[in-house]
């Protein structure tokens, strides 16, 4: 395999917009077009347009597609209604998280699994391996789709201008096939920003048409192109985990405070059931560390892997940190010892290059949109 970064169908367009590009999981992606803070604020108050074509789509189809997914993933995939989506995870036999996923049920016997770019191959390999014995097919659809997201309070109005699809009838975590700017697309009401918004799966050759149509329709609403940098601060404020930061193979969903995605009551065995049963008990009775939010009292910014301290002892570590445009202060997510995980715990700091900066422990998320 060559080491040249993969380019999305919109690569030339991003460059013409003056984007600063960055390598992300082997893809050359827009980091920001101008000020990342302005892009962040636009998504919170107006709308932003993202190219997320690096995400990995995997089709799972066939008479036993639901059965296969129920075995391969921790959630109850058979219970998803056609046209709905669910946030779930795929785990190892030892309960460690391989990836977090959104699974769309497109038809009774057709699902689309959307994996993180960095894990798409791992998820594809795991699903292919777990497929044995099921009357179902696993297909790599990564090259079949470009993915655009329009996110923010004005996103429904903007999308309505370029589609006849029934957006008012499209609930959060639902998806329906439709026509956007004259081309076919799967329209999903999902996102990773903490705002209302849509994700549009379309053929790569249609990506530019749709991007331009949304840009034009969004002009009067203050829509701006938005890069991965603001996507990261948006999801952090919304308390959403990012694989490689809050999630990893050395953590179970219970360790990450996301045990609710594991459905023990579903029929049949699933990969990780035994280990996750034990993990659920451990999290209940004797949690090692808990995922918390931290808000800085000062202005220095915590970064991933910095140590969280109290009374001169290391009590945890930062998983993600950034200056929060919405709060106007640095914020972080961190795993800390249960004894210090209660919101309002005093005396907690972060070791920022040798200085212990004071931080407030808070419950996640930092930001929740007003509905």
């Amino acid at each position: 395999m060559s080491n040249a970064p993969r380019l999305t169908a919109l690569d030339a367009l991003h460059r013409s917009l003056g984007a600063t590009m960055t390598d992300f999981a082997g893809w050359d992606m827009p980091l920001r077009y101008g000020s990342e803070r302005d892009e962040h604020n636009a998504v919170r108050t107006k709308a932003g347009l993202f190219d997320l074509s690096h995400m990995g789509e995997i089709a799972v189809t066939g008479p036993e597609a639901a059965k296969l997914l129920d075995y391969a993933l921790v959630g109850n995939m058979g219970s998803i209604g056609v046209g709905r989506a669910r946030y779930t995870m795929i785990c190892q036999a030892d309960g460690g998280i391989l990836d977090d996923l959104i699974v769309y049920r497109l038809e009774d016997q057709a699902y689309m699994v959307v994996a993180n770019a960095s894990n798409a191959q791992v998820v594809l390999d795991a699903l292919t391996e777990r497929q044995a014995g099921f009357d179902a097919e696993v297909r790599d659809d990564r090259d079949a789709y470009a993915l655009l997201a329009v996110q923010g309070p004005h996103s429904p109005a903007i999308l309505k201008a370029v589609t006849d699809a029934d957006l008012d009838g499209l609930k959060y975590y639902a998806g329906l096939p439709g026509t956007v700017a004259g081309v076919p697309a799967l329209i999903a009401r999902t996102g990773y920003t903490g705002e209302d918004g849509f994700e549009l799966f379309l053929k790569p050759e249609h990506a530019e048409t749709v991007w331009q149509a949304l840009t034009e329709a969004g002009q009067e609403y203050g829509l701006v192109p938005a890069g991965l940098s603001c996507r990261d601060t948006l999801r952090l404020e919304a308390g959403m985990p990012l694989y490689g930061h809050e999630l990893s193979t050395s953590l179970t969903p219970f360790d990450a405070g996301l045990g609710r995605v594991v459905k023990f009551e579903k029929e049949g065995d699933f990969v990780g059931r035994e280990a996750l049963t034990a993990a659920a008990e451990r999290a209940e009775q004797n949690p090692p560390r808990k995922l918390v939010g931290l808000i800085a009292e000062g202005r220095r910014v915590p970064r991933a892997e910095m140590q969280v301290v109290a009374d001169g002892e290391v009590i945890g570590s930062i998983t993600s940190g950034a200056p929060s445009p919405t709060l106007g202060k640095p914020i972080a997510m961190a795993y800390v010892d249960a004894a210090h995980a209660e919101a309002g715990t005093k005396g907690v700091g972060v070791d920022i290059r040798g200085t212990h900066e004071p931080y407030e422990v808070v419950a996640l998320p930092f930001y929740k949109r007003q509905k």
Binding site: T20, L31, R32, R37, S229, R299, R300, A322, P323, R353
Partner: protein, 126 residues
């Protein structure tokens, strides 16, 4: 983006004004500010501190990362820009003007400071 001709530049992307009464102003270049992204916090050397050419004397924190601030020359800090401490976005909006960082009374300067043309060539790779 153009780098003012009257300034000199370090390979760590600081600029240095021509000395007036032995005192020069120091900032980071527009190229560096663009590479950092939105600057949210600056820690500057304090008045009276001695800074040494090529060594760190502060830090610039942006959304994605923290970067060391290097002294382009050796000398004593005579003024730090409180405006930029209060509003770090000045580094992005006016890197060569209101976003200046500190003033230094030069006691020694390295031999490798660059002209605007040399610095432009370095940062555009031409």
């Amino acid at each position: 983006m153009s780098n003012p001709k009257e300034l000199r530049y370090s390979k760590e992307h600081e600029w240095l004004s021509a000395a007036a009464d032995g005192v020069s102003t120091v900032g980071i270049t527009e190229h560096a500010a663009n590479a950092l992204g939105d600057v949210v916090f600056v820690q500057l050397p304090e008045v009276g501190d001695t800074v040494t050419a090529g060594e760190t004397c502060g830090e610039l924190e942006s959304t994605k990362s923290v970067s060391d601030l290097y002294a382009p020359v050796t000398g004593e800090v005579v003024e730090a820009n409180q405006d930029v401490v209060d509003d770090p976005s000045l580094v992005n909006s006016a890197p060569f003007e209101g976003g200046w960082l500190f003033k230094v009374r030069i006691s020694a300067e390295p031999g490798d400071l660059m002209s605007a043309d040399e610095y432009t060539a370095l940062t555009t790779g031409s």
